[in-house]
Symmetry: C2
Subunit: 301 residues, 2 copies
C-alpha cells in the first residue's frame, strides 16, 4: 500500500494529511496561510515527521501555472492573495521532500477525488462546482483534468439575467452582474438580500432565484462539456432545498434539447452533492499524489 501526502492549499489555510486514501488518513494538520515561506515551511516540517511518502499531491487556490513547459510550472500566479503572487509552491516541496508532486487547482483536485473514491467513480467526464464565497469548477474530461491556455475559471461564465432580478448591481469585481459568481455566490446573495444566506429561511424567494441562476450555469456547462455527472459542493449548496430546485430548473432550462436519460428521467443521479463531503479537498490531493506516483515527475527548471 503506497503512502501519500496531501495538501489542500487554500487562501486562508493549508490542510495537510498523510494516508492511503480518504478512509485511511493517518495524520492531519492545518496551518494558516501566511507567507509562502512560512506556510510551505510548516507543511514540510509536518511531512518530514511522517513515514516516507511515495508522492505528494497539492490541490491549490489559484490562478496557478500548469504548463509543464513553463519555467513557472507549479507557481501560484496573479492571485489577489497578498504575498502569493508568483509564489513557487511545487519547487520547495519537491526539493525538501524528494518525492513526485502532483499539482492542480483545488477544484480539479476535488473532481479527481470524487472520480477516485466518490460520486464520479467510473466516469470519464464529470464536473465539480463549489458555490460559496466564490464559485469555481473543475472538470475531468475524457479521464484528464481540464487544462488549456491556463485552467478553467467556470465560476465566471456569463448568464442571462433573471427577469425579477434586473436591478441587482452584481458582486463580481470583473463582470459585475454578468457572470455566475456576480449573481449567485454567497457574498452576492448577502449583498442582494442584506443578510447572510445561511440566515435566510427555507421559504425565502432568495432560494428560488439562486436555483434558477445555478440551473442556467449548469445548462451552459452541460451544453459545452457534456458531463456524465455534475457534483455541487460549497457552503451555499449545504442548504437542503436547493438540490431539488436546481434539478427542476435545469430540466426546464435544457428544454428537452439534450436527448439523454440522465438529464431527463435521471436528474436525481445527475446533479448530486460530493460523496466525500468535507474530505473532498484532501481526497483530491491524495488522488493527485497517486497520479504523480504513476507518472514521471514534472520537470522543474
Amino acid at each position: 500500500m503506497s503512502l501519500y501526502g496531501a495538501i489542500e492549499a487554500g487562501g486562508s489555510k493549508f490542510v495537510c494529511a498523510v494516508g492511503t486514501g480518504p478512509e485511511d488518513l493517518r495524520a492531519q494538520a492545518r496551518f494558516p496561510t501566511t507567507t509562502p515561506h512560512e506556510t510551505l515551511g510548516k507543511c514540510i516540517e509536518f511531512f518530514r515527521a511522517q513515514p516516507k511518502l511515495d508522492a505528494l499531491g497539492v490541490g491549490c487556490f489559484g490562478p496557478i501555472e500548469l504548463g509543464r513547459g513553463s519555467p513557472r510550472y507549479g507557481y501560484v500566479t496573479a492571485t489577489p492573495k497578498a504575498g502569493w503572487t508568483d509564489a513557487d509552491v511545487v519547487g520547495p516541496l519537491q526539493q525538501a521532500l524528494g518525492v513526485p508532486v502532483g499539482f492542480d487547482t483545488d477544484v480539479n483536485a476535488a473532481v479527481l477525488g470524487e472520480a477516485r473514491w466518490g460520486a464520479a467513480q467510473g466516469l470519464e467526464t464529470a464536473i465539480y462546482v463549489t458555490i460559496g464565497t466564490g464559485i469555481g469548477g473543475g472538470a475531468l474530461l475524457g479521464g484528464r483534468l481540464a487544462h488549456g491556455l491556463v485552467h478553467p475559471e467556470m465560476g465566471h461564465l456569463l448568464l442571462p439575467r433573471e427577469p425579477d432580478d434586473l436591478d441587482f448591481a452584481g458582486h463580481c469585481p470583473f463582470h459585475a452582474a454578468r457572470c455566475w459568481e456576480g449573481v449567485a455566490s454567497g457574498p452576492a446573495m448577502e449583498r442582494r438580500w442584506g443578510r447572510r444566506p445561511e440566515t435566510l429561511p427555507a421559504n425565502h424567494p432568495a432560494w428560488d432565484l439562486e436555483a434558477r441562476y445555478i440551473a442556467s450555469a449548469l445548462t451552459t456547462l452541460v451544453l459545452v462539456l457534456s458531463p456524465e455527472r455534475l457534483i455541487l459542493g460549497g457552503g451555499v449548496m449545504q442548504v437542503e432545498q436547493l438540490f431539488p430546485l436546481v434539478r427542476k430548473y435545469l430540466r426546464s432550462s435544457l428544454a428537452g434539447y439534450v436527448q439523454a436519460d440522465a438529464v431527463n428521467s435521471g436528474m436525481a443521479e445527475y446533479v448530486v452533492p460530493p460523496q466525500l463531503g468535507q474530505r473532498a479537498g484532501i481526497a483530491g490531493a491524495l488522488a493527485l499524489a497517486e497520479r504523480a506516483a504513476r507518472e514521471p515527475p514534472a520537470p522543474h527548471p
Copy 2:
C-alpha cells in the same frame, strides 16, 4: 503514404473524398442527403471505385452516438432530419469497405483537421465554432476530442441579453432568445433585421450587436475550457468586419480576468478564421481516418 477516405456528412449533402491530406485530394464527389440507404450506398460505390483505403473518416451532422460501448455507436440519433433518426452510419460503411472507420461530429472533425494541418497545429486545446444556419462547436481538449454524456452542443450555451436587443423574441425552438443560436445564428439575424445577413451593409448596427453576442459566448468558452485558440468559421463569419469587432468585445468582456498574453496583447492570433477554409470539413474527416488507422477499430456489435 497512407490513403484515406473522408466523408463530410451534412444534412443537405454528403461530400466524399480520397487523399493523403487536404493538399492531396485525389478524387471527390458529392451526393444529396436523401435516405440513409441511398446516400450511404452512393458513398460506398464511390469509395469502391478508388484504390484500397487504409481507413475512412466521417464528420457527421448530429446528434450522434459516440459511446464505444453503446449498441448504437456510430448512429445518427434524435435528428430532426427526416429518415435519419436512429440511422446507422458507421456499420454499413465498415461492412462494405472493410476498413477502420473514424467517426465524430462535423465540428469535432473540423477542429481536429485544423489541429493536424491548419490554425491549431501544435495545440492541445482548441475550439472550432461554426456560425451560420446554426451554431455549433467542436473542441480538442488535452489532445482528445470532446465527448461525454453525448457530445458538446455549445451553440446552445446561454447568454446575457444585450440591453439594446431586449425586444427580440429569439429564433431557437428550444431556448428562444436565451441561447447563442437563438440570438446570433444567420436565421436569427434575418428574423431580427428582416433581411438576410449577407445583404446588410458593413456599417449596419446588426454587426456590432452580432459581435457582442459572439464575444459573450466566447467569454464563456474561454472561462469554461481555457482554449489555446478559438477558430471561427461558417457563413456569418465570412463578413470581414466581424473578426476585429469580436476580438475587441471579447477583450472587454473578459475584463482582464484571465491573465494570459494570448487574450490580452495577442488577441489577433487567438481568435482566427479556419486556415483550411472550405476544406476544413473534409480535412477533418481525413484526420479522423488517420486516427482510426492508428487505433483499433471501434467495436460494432
